[in-house]
Amino acid sequence: MAKHRGRGIASINYPIGMNLGGDPSQALVHSNPSGKFTVSLSSIDLGQGMKSVTRQICAETLGVPVEDVYVDTADSDTGPHCMGSFASRGTHRVGNAVMAAAKEARGVMMEAAAEELEVNAADLDTDGRGNIHVKGAPHRSISTKDVAIAAQFKQGKTISGRGIFLVPLSEVNPETGEMSPATCYAHACLVAEVEVDDETGEVAMVRMDSAYELGRALNPRLVEQQLVGGAWMGISHTLFETPEPYYPDPVHGPRDFVEYLMPGPGDICPHDIAVLERPAADGPFGAKGPGEMCANPVLPAVANAIFNAVGVRMDELPITPEKVLRAIKAQGGARPQARR
């Protein structure tokens, strides 16, 4: 009876968004007379950072400080249409829609500024700090607030923009079955190290090392946060979570947090993450987005690590101590594999 260490690897490609009917999202951007901008979305932020990222995208596109942008994701009844926050599509799809809307709004803002400064709009630029100036002549400038006031009360213009991002529907080739389900893919590789107790069947996480390629990381801290938290969810799916832990009858299934198991703070392990950035051609500022893929490589990597540790192939989730013990027993004991 002993504890065996094992290491497993898994690589994944992950499509960003989906292609069922084009997968559209819309965004509306408008300013109010204070020179602040509002982004209206129906896309919901569940904590993954949609508001922060769309705020950054809007501010960058408009050329105004990020503090001057407010993102409203309140209501799918009254907001512009969005397919939703799923399929790792938020940053890419909604971000593109916000970028298009902000671009249109920026055009109106520059026209309004041009009228105030009595120059051609093409000769104007933003400084990212809330001012619009004549290129090469920074002293000839006007604040975005004064532009917004002039547009509202003098020129009769709405500084606003509409944006939609729609991936053209890819038809299935009836001959080959070929289609393009996504416009860009994110990639990841993860190595998991585990310790398997051949007496109890318990699998303990020792450490994880991963590399994620997800386009440009628009907000690196939020990307890291998603990857750390998502890997935990992967561990949870691999080793803990199920509505029916051992028995086929749902009556015996867990009904609450006491019975529905998830890893606690004592079950996590060190996780070293490398983020690689290969900007996507059709992403907002090259972004693809992390999302669901944070959890995906953990499951096969841990299953491979268990095989490496004790020589059993686990093909049913979650990999509970009972299943590991039965598998070890069926093969007549732990058979540690070669460690590479």
């Binding site: 904590g47 801290r221 750390v228 935990w232 609450d256 947090f257 606690g264 703070p265 996780h271």
Partner: protein
């Protein structure tokens, strides 16, 4: 139904209210006082989202009868900041990105505060032990553990 008069201190202020028998402290705080910082997670002590301090000790407000806190002092997350200044733990949670959806955050902060109040220099293992009654679905705990350790360090630096 007969209602029971009840008085206790809530974040340093005296409050007086009437509660129905059997009402738990979480409901009294949220519905009678309007303090929404303790969250309803499971209602049976399994998740820690409703954690509050009673006379400085960590308790699950969903499992505490409101009548049992008569004359005692309750602190919730709402009473943790000092005027406009965030508590060092709150600041550390922000800086370490220790919240995503935020639902567990008030309970996590109260569990962490209970720890730092009695042990200003906890080890990593002690932090893990202190928050092990609180479930977080988003963060993977690592940023939360780091935030509590960072807050402990910054507290020592100030003192």
């Amino acid at each position: 139904m007969t209602k029971t008069p009840l008085q206790f201190r809530h974040n340093g202020r005296d409050v007086a209210l009437f509660v129905e028998g059997g009402v738990n402290l979480l409901v009294a705080l949220r519905e009678s006082i309007g303090d929404m910082t303790p969250k309803f997670g499971c209602g049976q002590g399994g998740c820690g989202a409703c954690s509050v301090l009673i006379d400085g000790e960590l308790h699950l407000s969903c499992l505490t009868l409101a009548e049992a806190v008569n004359g005692r002092s309750i602190q919730t997350l709402d009473g943790v900041k000092d005027g406009p200044n965030l508590h060092p733990l709150q600041r550390a949670f922000m800086e370490q990105f220790a919240a995503q959806c935020g639902y567990c955050t008030p309970g996590m902060l109260m569990a962490a505060k209970a720890l730092l109040d009695r042990n200003p220099s906890p080890t990593r293992a002690e932090v893990i032990e202190a928050i092990s009654g609180n479930i977080c679905r988003c963060t993977g705990y690592e940023p939360i553990i780091n935030a509590v350790l960072a807050a402990a360090t910054s507290g020592r630096a100030r003192a």
